[in-house]
Structures are given as C-alpha cells and as structure tokens.
Symmetry: C2
Amino acid sequence: MINAIETYVQQHNEIHMEELKQLLRIPSISAVAEHKKDILHCAEWVAGALQKAGLEHVEIMATAGHPVVYADWLHAPGKPTVLVYGHYDVQPAEPLELWDTPPFEPTVRDGKIYARGATDDKGQLFLHIKAVESCLQVIGSLPVNIKFCIEGEEEIASFHLPPFFEQHLDKLQADVVTLSDTQLYGPGKPALMYGLRGLAAFEIIVEGANSDLHSGLYGGGVPNPIHALSKLLSSFHDEHGHVAVEGFYNNVIELSQQEREAFKLVEPDEHKLLTELGVSSLFGESNFTFYEQTTSRPTLEITSISGGFQGEGIKPIIPNQAIAKVACRLTAAQVPDEVMDAVEKHIHTHKPAGVRVRLNRLLRGNPFITPIDHPAMQAAANAYEEAYGTSPVYMRGGGSIPIVEVFGRLLQAPVVMLGFGLPGENLHAPNEHFHLENWHKGLSTICRYWYKIGADIKL
Amino acid sequence: MINAIETYVQQHNEIHMEELKQLLRIPSISAVAEHKKDILHCAEWVAGALQKAGLEHVEIMATAGHPVVYADWLHAPGKPTVLVYGHYDVQPAEPLELWDTPPFEPTVRDGKIYARGATDDKGQLFLHIKAVESCLQVIGSLPVNIKFCIEGEEEIASFHLPPFFEQHLDKLQADVVTLSDTQLYGPGKPALMYGLRGLAAFEIIVEGANSDLHSGLYGGGVPNPIHALSKLLSSFHDEHGHVAVEGFYNNVIELSQQEREAFKLVEPDEHKLLTELGVSSLFGESNFTFYEQTTSRPTLEITSISGGFQGEGIKPIIPNQAIAKVACRLTAAQVPDEVMDAVEKHIHTHKPAGVRVRLNRLLRGNPFITPIDHPAMQAAANAYEEAYGTSPVYMRGGGSIPIVEVFGRLLQAPVVMLGFGLPGENLHAPNEHFHLENWHKGLSTICRYWYKIGADIKL
C-alpha cells in the first residue's frame, strides 16, 4: 500500500515540483503591509491546492488579520481526527543582494530547492497536501479523518489565530495536531521535537531632543539617543553571556541530568560550528553547552537597531530618536509578560540622564513541552523509522511556534512535530532552501504516520 | 550710496524672493548619488544667476566630484580682491514626515522662508549674488574686485575641493576670502566667528557569523554584532561625558581664562536651552559650560546606527553585521587622522570576543582659528555695526567648514565669516528656515563690507 503511494509520488514528481514552485513564487510576507495582496493570493492558491488534492469544505476563513485556509476529509468514521497545521506566510527576504538566485524565483540546484519559504514552511506544508492527494488517488480513501488549518501569520507570531481558534473550536476539534515546521537531526536522521522555546518581542525607543540636531552646533553638549541606547543594550548581558536583567531567569525550569545526558547524542560539534558560522568564538553562559543554550535556556537578542540617517553617506546630526527591537526566547515555565516587565523595569533603572525611554510590547508566545510517551508520538517515531531506516532522536527546539502551545492547551490534544527540514537550510536568512530527498521520505513518513494513527489511537 | 542700494533691494524684493525659491526648489543633495542630476542642474542655475547679476567669466568647472561654479568681476584696478565662497549643495531632508511643508517646496511664513538649504547655505550664498547685482545696477561698478567660488560638496566635507583649489590657485588668488555660512549671535545681534571645529568622520563595522541567523535556532549561542557594537559604542564615554578613548584629547589647546570670560557674553542660558530642546539634562564634561563644550572642546557623536531588518515589524534574526557612523568635532590643534588612529586602537582593544571589527575613515577637516585683529575682520565688524546698529560679538563655532582652513592655508589670506543665519533655524534638520529680516540687513552688510574693504585694505 505504502509502496504504491511511493510509486505514485515518484511518477508525479515533475508536476508536484512545478506546483511547489508556483507556491514559492508568491511573496506572502506577513510582516509587511504592502504584501497584503500577496498574502491573499497565497491563501487562494493554497485553497485551490487543497481542493485539487481531494479535500472537502475548502474555505478561506477571515480572521482579524490574514485569513486561515480550512479544508477537511471526514469519511473515516470511528477513526481519529488529525488536524494538520501549517503556515503559508514567509519571512521578509532582505538583504536581497545576498541571495544567489532571487528569493521568489525558486531554483533547483544540487538536489535542493532554493526560495524564501522553501523549508519554512511552504515546502513542508505542501508535503501534507500531496500526501492527501497521493492516498486518495492510489487508495481512494484516508485511514484517518483529516482537517487542515493553514494560517498566514506564523512569522508574526500568529497574533490573530488564538481568538479565531477559540471561535471555531468545534470545527477544529481533533484528536491529534500534526505539523511539519521543524528539522531532522541531520541528513537521514529523523528527530522528534518535544519542546520549543517561547517568545517575547518588544522594541525599546530612546528619545532625546525634540528634533535632530546639527552635530557641530550641539555635539558634545546634549544627550545623544544612540549613545544612551547603546549604554542600555550593553547593560543587558554581563561578560559571561548571562542576561543581567533582574528577574529574567525567574521560573526557568533547570535541565535535569537525564536531559543533559540525552542532549549529548544530538549536540553539534562546537568546533565545526565555529567554522560553519565563520566566527572565532561562540557566546553564552559559561556553564551551558551551545545546544543547551539554544534550546533550553532563555536568551535576549537584539534583532535590529536603527537611529539617524539611514541612507548613503554620513549626515552629521545628533538624531532625536534611536530604536532597538529585541526578541527574547523563553523556556518553560517563563511567562512572556513577566519577562517584559523585568526588562521594562531594567531600562528605567539603567536609563542614562537626559533622555526618555519606553518599551513597546510586540509579540508573545508561551514556551511548550510535549509528552514524549503519547501513542501519537510513538506512531510518528515508528513512521520515521520505517521511512528513514533509523529511529528518531528526541530533541528540543530553540525556535518558537507559539501556536503549538495554544493548540495543545485549547484542544487538550498532543501536538506532534513531524519536521523534515535540515539544519543549515537558512530559514529566515538569504538562500533558504529545502533538500528534495526529504520531499520523498517526508511524504512517505506522513502517509505511514496516518496509517499508524488510524490503527493505534483509541478515541 | 548704500541708501540707494537698499532702496533697490526693497524695490526688487518680490523678484529676488521668487528667484531664491527657484534655487531652493532644486534638491541638490550631495550625499546621495541619485541626486547627481539635481546637483548639476543647481550648478547651472547658480551660473545663470551669476551671469544675470553682471559677473563675468562665468564657468562651471569640473572637479573629481561635483562641479564648482566660478565667476568674477575684475574692474577695480589697485583695489583688493575678495573671493566669495559658498555652497549650492544641501543636506538630505529625511525624516520627511517631520517637515510642516515639503523641504523642496519653499514657503514663506511669519517672515521666514522654509526649505532645505534656506539658511545652509543657499539663502546666504544668494545674498552675495544679489549684492553684486544691486551694486552694479545702482552704482555701475563694485568697490573691489570679486571672484565667486561656489562648490557642491560642502555637506560631504568638500572632499574634492582642495586638489581643485591647488590646481587653480592662480585663478582663485585673492586678498581676503569671505563666506556667509554661519550665524548671528541672536536676532539683531551680529557675531564674528573666529574659530571653527574640525571634523573626523568614520564608520565602525562589526561582523559576526557569515549570514543572518534565526534567533530561535542560534539565539543565546553565537555573538550578536549589535550587542558587540553597543558594547563598543558605550565604551566611548565615561559617566562624566568625557571621551574615554586613550589619546583622544591629545593636542587640544586648552581655553584661556580670557576666552572663557569673553564667552560669558554669548553663552546661552542653559535652563532655557533645556526647554527649547525638550531634554531634562544637558550632556558633557562636568568642568565645561555648554558653550565651551560645543565650540572649543572636541566631541565624539554617533550620528547613525543600523543593523538587522530595517522594515516594518520584527524579523527575529541575529544579523551578521551592524554599522555605526561617527562624527568627531575637533578643536585646534587636533589632527583628524591622529584622532581616528586613537579610536581605531580603542575599538580593537575593546572588541568583544567572536566578532570582527573595522573602521573606515570617511571625512577629515582641520580645525581653524582666524586672527581677529586683521583689517578685513575690522571692516566686517564696522559693516555689521552700521547695518545692525550694534557691534558684533566674537564667537567660536562648533560646526565645521573644513574648506575654511584650506582657503586660509593655501591663499595665506584671512577668511571672514560674515554669517546671517540665526540659532534655531534647523539647519540639517526638518523645517530648516531663514529669517527674511536678515535678507535685507545681510545684503546691506555685504555691500558696506565691500566698500570698507575697498577703502581700508592695502594690497
């Protein structure tokens, strides 16, 4: 049965790749208002693809932000219902000049497809759509009931999805949630993510005089907001990479010795990492490894900074404003607003004289840990093992998919993260790509997983 | 004679204002390559205005950068030659949204003309052109020989003018150089600037990993260039506003007690300044007043900073690069390259681990002091006193007109800075403007000055 599906996938590879390229050509950047029409176009494209795959009740559903695309196939009475989640929005593609080929002109090179969204998440999302099509074409039915809930705001922290979800809880009710938006451990080596970091993102605005001032006429005599912001930002870490904001580590659950031992199987070689990243040293708290630091410890990263004339050349002014945007990744059981309370208190305590400072809260997402002994997780582990010929490792992810925590909480269902990306595929960076070997193995894994869920899970 | 000229100026006020508006409409921004055609258009416009005023040998002369506009009137044998210097280029107008009326649509409100370049320097430069026209129309001749040398790169530190000047030294030879690019002390209160600060401008580039990195996957584990740059920038000043770069104050000539006493006549009220600027405290070394600090002490100002995604929303990355641009104002007898050597050494000494850092030198200008007892300076003082009814104060300027030092050195001639701007006219900032009462008094001062030079100066 699986063999027949795999044969179908091989035979239809060319047409599937052409369709994937169509999807990747749409610059559905959720963070930038001027791409709103591309977002809507992408939602329509996804709806069309779901229809074509044989799903029913396809609907573009309005939210207070970008729309959700819904579809279902509910002809497996007595069988569990799997809710497939994914997102059709992508990160901005800047800096454009660092892409070898344009971000929205997908190109296949060396068995990889290059484009913004190739791995995060259009490539992985499309796997589930084509898995449905393949099952229905070859077998004529699915072994489980399936619902798709594909959103357009994941890259801006799914801001409008939780209220949408609460409003449509009956329609979206399921026994297990599945998504493919994470990574394998390495080539040919599957991994099951059992935890994700949360997110607290905010901007810090420092204001000085009521206008930009000529640096000749005023230089040396008035507070400079960029100086002040630099002082503030440099107060956030001590010299050991520890965040020096009082209360920042409140509620952090320390790693168990068992977890630290398990991580030794999956930790990257730090020397190799230095070469790969092109840096002379890593960063972080001295008593944690890179892997522990980036998956199980909270972090405070300045993601952007801006002040003064941003054009070519130099404009000799003291600007009247400087802004930094900050993303904190949080670990269980930190609460985003409590962390932002601590940072807000810190900036008011450490504010240099003569300037005004304020913090605007931008994004929140709770950290998440999923139970690894749930039957759906074991179904996923067995599917991976059959498709890849090796059992998966259990890992924690440093990134945030805040909606995962919401799904788990609202549906009271396990969330299985069936990732097919690979480390180094440049998600959120120039030259994002997806390895096509995981297109084939991924599609096989997904179909196998559904059959195991259909056989194993008791409603 | 002066009365007749003043009457002519009054009678032709409407047409002169229309012409000034034409000049102010040209966005001749020298720092931005895409405005090259506007620069050339502006040079042509100025050439036409010089021709129309009755000047001869009008010529747009190529330099290695933006062109110089030259013209002369040499029919006063035995009389001194005055070289009038000015610049037709302007600063960028960003942030555009803070202008009450668009920067290149000049508007007269409450006796002031608003536009980018209104006071720096198109408005003041145009005074000299109309002074020539008025003298020639009313008297039929000038009391001195006059040469105009109007450049297009003052706002980018006159980079190509010194070699141009050396190449055309014979043609530009003069007994006194005069420019109007500075300010009065206050409304109705003329000032003669006897010193200007120099300039050393550079950019600091911090680089981390060889690509932007996802802040979820790498956050907390790799060096962040914005963190590192903030640490570097915050190391530049101690908590007393003193620049903490070793060697930064080398060669600074300390103020004499006499100068500090003289400054008391012109120092701004610091409490009033706080209100005017909208800040709760000033900045600077604790043992200097605001006036001393901004005219006679060197300063290090971060004029812009940039790193990470600069668009709307937040892009959760660790950027691979962050850049700050810095302008140091220097006082006699500091040497720009020696100051940049000191800063370059400082950033390598204070560089955080794991990042690469480099300094690119952008602009250099020597500080300048002019002798206040030269007959040309006294001619200017007397002209001011007659036109404004009060004798000028002697001041030092915090800004830099680096070419002033070059003129003085190459021509071995005094440089007289006959400024007609006013403090608070927002040069280099939104809503730049020029008070039109100084149009009339300024034109009268310039004509009187030429007659005094013609009578007083021995060749």
